[in-house]
């Protein structure tokens, strides 16, 4: 009955215009791809949102210095949360114009000197610093903060430091930047708040003792703590078009279709599969983005098949794909390595042993394989090395002979057997050789 309903819906919307579809794609793509923008909705992290907002309000309104770390696995919404809080903060009347922000990123500012230059640039104090040379990092930072004091005010603007990829700052020499920032937050007159975002749960162990003691040990955790029902709800809400969409009837049809999809058994299976694999929303958005890219004028509504296709594409085994494209000789070498691993329990092997094993196969069992010369087999082996399916234990030196270099195979037995099942035109004796582990038959 449900499929009849969806067929009827499709017939109704044959007249969806290209402009309309283009709008839909624009909205959904921005929502899924350009996510850290603060226009989306927050799911399940209201408690953390209130905590962070309270913290920042105390800095800006009451001049308190604070520090906090937002900790959560990749894709759990740390940057989104922070952007939301900052947007709401900037809209508050008392805060407007009263907060200075400095955004640092561990990937970009790879050393403390670069970080200091970036801070100078973001606070727009380049001409103030000019050509002055300072003795130490602390002096420079103190000078910068002093320069922020406006003429008659007894205290300067509160400064907010946001450190993205906080765990990378920990690896700088002596952790100077962190030490100085936390030091100022504990002692100086200027109200300074430091918010760090990191994906490492053990971040506190990485901090030096003197840095750790100046940190307030305030940690906000984002742990993707929603269950499957909320997950499906998020799926539905994120795919729905907003109320302000220009083409009202189409928006209504679209949202009804999404409602119907979220109750469909196939879609629930797909979502359940993804949910068991990883709970974070970033992966969900990837899947939805892939499915949405299939929406065109001829195919204006999302179907369960689109989601299934997106899920299948998202979850393919890449090494199996690579094995699919190897030549028969290379497959034989992989099977020879598999047998060596079985007999010798995974100990490393060299090319000479693999060639020996291959020779045994050729002499005893092969009818379809021609006995190739050793250099030809060596070239096939080097192709496997280039694809990194086989990795040497140590870097090859100029002096060692290439045939005797010890290597390991980076595929396991189930992957090899699965790949052989789908390998096109595999000769039967090669398949039989792979299946039997008895090498003397």
């Amino acid at each position: 009955m449900k499929s009849a309903m969806s067929k009827r819906k499709l017939k109704d919307t044959c007249g969806a215009s290209a402009e309309c579809i283009s709008q839909v794609q624009k909205i959904l793509r921005e929502r899924f791809c350009h996510r850290p923008s603060a226009t989306g909705k927050l799911f399940g992290i209201e408690f953390q949102y209130r905590h962070l907002l309270e913290l920042l309000k105390r800095t800006t309104l009451h001049g308190e210095s604070n520090s906090a770390l937002i900790v959560g696995p990749r894709g759990s919404g740390k940057t989104t949360l922070l952007n939301h809080v900052l947007k709401d903060l900037r809209e508050m009347k008392q805060v407007r114009g009263n907060l200075l922000e400095v955004h640092l990123n561990g990937l970009l500012q790879t050393s403390d000197k670069v970080a200091l230059k970036e801070i100078t640039r973001q606070l727009q104090l380049e001409n103030v610093v000019g050509d002055k040379v300072f003795g130490s990092f602390a002096e420079t930072l103190a000078f910068l903060l002093e320069a922020l004091r406006k003429g008659d005010r007894t205290s300067s603007c509160p400064v907010l430091f946001v450190l993205d990829e906080f765990d990378l700052f920990v690896h700088h020499k002596n952790q100077t930047l962190l030490y100085n920032l936390f030091d100022i937050s504990q002692s100086a007159q200027t109200p300074v708040t430091i918010i760090g975002l990191t994906c490492r749960q053990d971040i506190l162990e990485l901090l030096e003792k003197r840095v750790k003691s100046r940190f307030s040990h305030r940690q906000i955790y984002l742990m993707n703590s929603f269950d499957f029902k909320q997950y499906v709800k998020i799926f539905k809400e994120q795919l729905s078009l907003p109320a302000e969409f220009p083409d009202e009837p189409f928006a209504q049809k679209w949202n009804d279709n999404i409602q119907h999809l979220s109750e469909d058994k196939i879609v629930q299976d797909v979502l359940q599969n993804l949910f068991h694999h990883t709970k974070d929303l970033r992966s969900l958005y990837f899947l939805l983005m892939l499915a949405v890219s299939a929406v065109t004028v001829h195919h204006p509504l999302l179907t369960a098949a689109d989601l299934q296709e997106a899920s299948r594409q998202h979850g393919t085994d890449s090494k199996a794909n690579i094995v699919h494209g190897l030549s028969v000789l290379e497959i034989c070498l992989i099977i020879a390595m598999k047998h060596l691993n079985d007999v010798y329990d995974g100990e490393p092997f060299n090319f000479q042993m693999v060639y020996n094993e291959f020779q045994k196969f050729i002499q005893r069992k092969a009818h379809s394989m021609y006995n190739f010369e050793k250099p030809v087999v060596m070239k096939a082996f080097e192709h496997l090395l280039q694809l990194e399916l086989v990795k040497p234990l140590e870097r090859p030196s100029a002096r060692a002979q290439r045939e005797y270099l010890l290597m390991r195979l980076l595929l396991d037995n189930t992957q090899i057997m699965d790949a052989l099942q789908v390998y096109p035109n595999c000769p039967t004796d090669v398949k039989q050789w792979a299946a039997s582990s008895l090498s003397w038959l």
Binding site: A18, I21, S22, Q25, K26, R29, E30, C33, H34, P36, R74, T79, N105, G106, L107, L108, Q109, T110, V114, E118, D167, L168, C199, R200, R282, F286, M289, L290, S293, A294, T296, T316, S318, K319, N321, I322, H324, G325, L326, S327, V328, L329, Y344, N350, Q352, M353, N356, E373, P375, V376, K379, A380, L387, E388, R399, Q401, E403, Y404, P424, N425
Partner: protein, 447 residues
């Protein structure tokens, strides 16, 4: 009816694109649907992987050029340090926008500067919010640069807050790229390898105009029959096809057979292709040598490949030194007494006699031996009496220079130098044959 359809791009351009990319239509349509319209956002980073010559670079370049999407194309092997890479991207960005102004290279050391300069360049380029594509070919080299380059590129859309998509092309799978603490995972797309039908179709497209397409297709069929088991690389097969075609056409040119006489043509070409596998395919000889050989009609047996030149003529004692070194490397020490002394007595049957196949020394590689052992074996295998003069020692050094022996460890004064023999069994058998020495009798593995 064209297979590729997209509302944002003109149908004529799509039709032209389709003709340029045979057998890759589904990949192109996938890419088009992911890219979306010009102004729309796309995935921040895309990772495309597949075997060599499966068309990744070609399809990306053709797609971006034909549809005239704003893009920057950089090869990471060419720009192998981060500085070269970042500066190249900035230079390409600059040169596209202002054709008249001379482009002065902007120094860009760190990724921080890059982000700043990139934002400036985007503003000046007046893209009107179109997506800019940065394509990095041979992206596996990014792993060798500083640790922040790869994660930063994956997040470039977020870091620069602009509409940019980074596309990485590589033949290594994504699992071997991912850094330890994780990063922003890109969308991974697989470019499948060509099937034998596809290869046939693509290779048959290059047929020379003098012959019919069927004739050339039959030739490609024969070529694939010989080489398909060994190599599926389109570039290699195309090279081999081009080199050997004139030989294939010889009977037709000489008038001995007409175009449809497949059996005669096959008999003519098949030994030639097998010889090609041992020489040109392995790059033992260059393509010009191969072509000259075909032209002169010489015997393929006279061909001297690169490995043939490793057989150098050694002086008499050097040959025996090499043989002694080989015996020292591949025989265990305990067997020396039995093999080389006149009155050795019986060998006790101990556990040592059991030979496991794995511990066959010919599988494990040569073992290092001290100089004294080498000289001891040498004295026992040479018939005449050999005086340990400086002559002998200098010959050992010259063998090391020729890389037939190699020195192991440092110049250790306390224990004396240790060497290891790095020649193959076939080589040493050839050398031993020239001095009438039956080396197989003295090798422990063959007893």
């Amino acid at each position: 009816m064209p297979n590729l359809e997209h509302p944002a791009y003109p149908a004529a351009a799509l039709l032209h694109l389709e003709s340029l990319v045979p057998c890759r239509e589904s990949q192109v349509s996938m890419l088009l649907s992911i890219f979306g319209e010009r102004q729309q956002f796309s995935f921040p980073s895309i990772f495309i992987y597949g075997h060599t010559s499966s068309g990744k670079t070609y399809v990306m370049q053709t797609l971006l050029n034909t549809l005239q999407l704003p893009h920057v194309f950089v090869n990471c092997v060419e720009c192998f340090t981060s500085r070269l890479l970042l500066e190249e991207i900035l230079i390409q960005l600059q040169s596209c926008s202002s054709e008249t102004e001379p482009t002065s290279p902007v120094p860009c050391d760190t990724f921080n500067d890059f982000v700043r300069l990139f934002k400036q360049a985007l503003v000046s380029r007046e893209l009107q919010d179109q997506t800019l594509y940065i394509v990095l070919d041979r992206a596996e080299q990014l792993r060798e640069m500083e640790a922040n380059i790869l994660p930063a590129f994956l997040r470039l859309q977020e870091l620069t807050d602009s509409n940019v998509t980074v596309v990485l092309l590589s033949e290594i799978v994504w699992e071997l790229f991912r850094p330890n603490v994780g990063c922003f995972d890109p969308l991974t797309l697989y470019f499948p390898d060509y099937s034998i039908g596809h290869l046939q179709k693509i290779l048959s497209q290059n047929h020379p105009p003098e012959y019919t397409a069927d004739f050339y297709a039959a030739y490609i069929n024969i070529l694939l029959g010989v080489f398909y088991m060994v190599c599926r690389d389109l570039k290699e097969l195309r090279h081999l096809a081009a080199l050997n075609f004139s030989k294939y056409c010889e009977p037709v040119v000489r008038g001995e057979a007409n175009e449809r006489d497949t059996r005669k043509l096959w008999k003519n070409i098949e030994p030639h292709l097998k010889k090609a596998m041992q020489t040109v395919y392995l790059r033992e000889i260059s393509s010009s040598q191969w072509e000259r050989l075909q032209h002169d009609g010489g015997e393929p047996g006279q061909l001297k490949g690169l490995s043939a030149h490793t057989h150098v003529e050694l002086p008499y004692y050097s040959k025996f030194l090499l043989i002694a070194a080989y015996l020292a490397s591949y025989n265990p020490v305990r067997t020396d007494k039995r093999l080389f002394l006149k009155h050795h007595g019986k060998m006790k049957k101990t556990n040592f006699m059991k030979k496991h196949e794995k511990t066959s020394n010919h599988l494990l590689g040569p073992k290092p031996f001290p100089l004294d052992r080498l000289l001891a074996i040498l004295y026992s295998i040479v018939d005449k009496r050999v005086a340990p003069t400086a002559n002998i020692f200098s010959q050992i050094t010259s063998l090391v220079t020729l890389q037939l022996l190699s020195m192991v460890g440092q110049n250790d004064q306390l224990e004396g130098p240790r060497y290891k023999c790095t020649v193959s069994l076939d080589f040493i058998r050839a050398v031993a044959r020239t001095v009438n020495f039956d080396i197989i009798k003295y090798l422990y593995d063959f007893l």
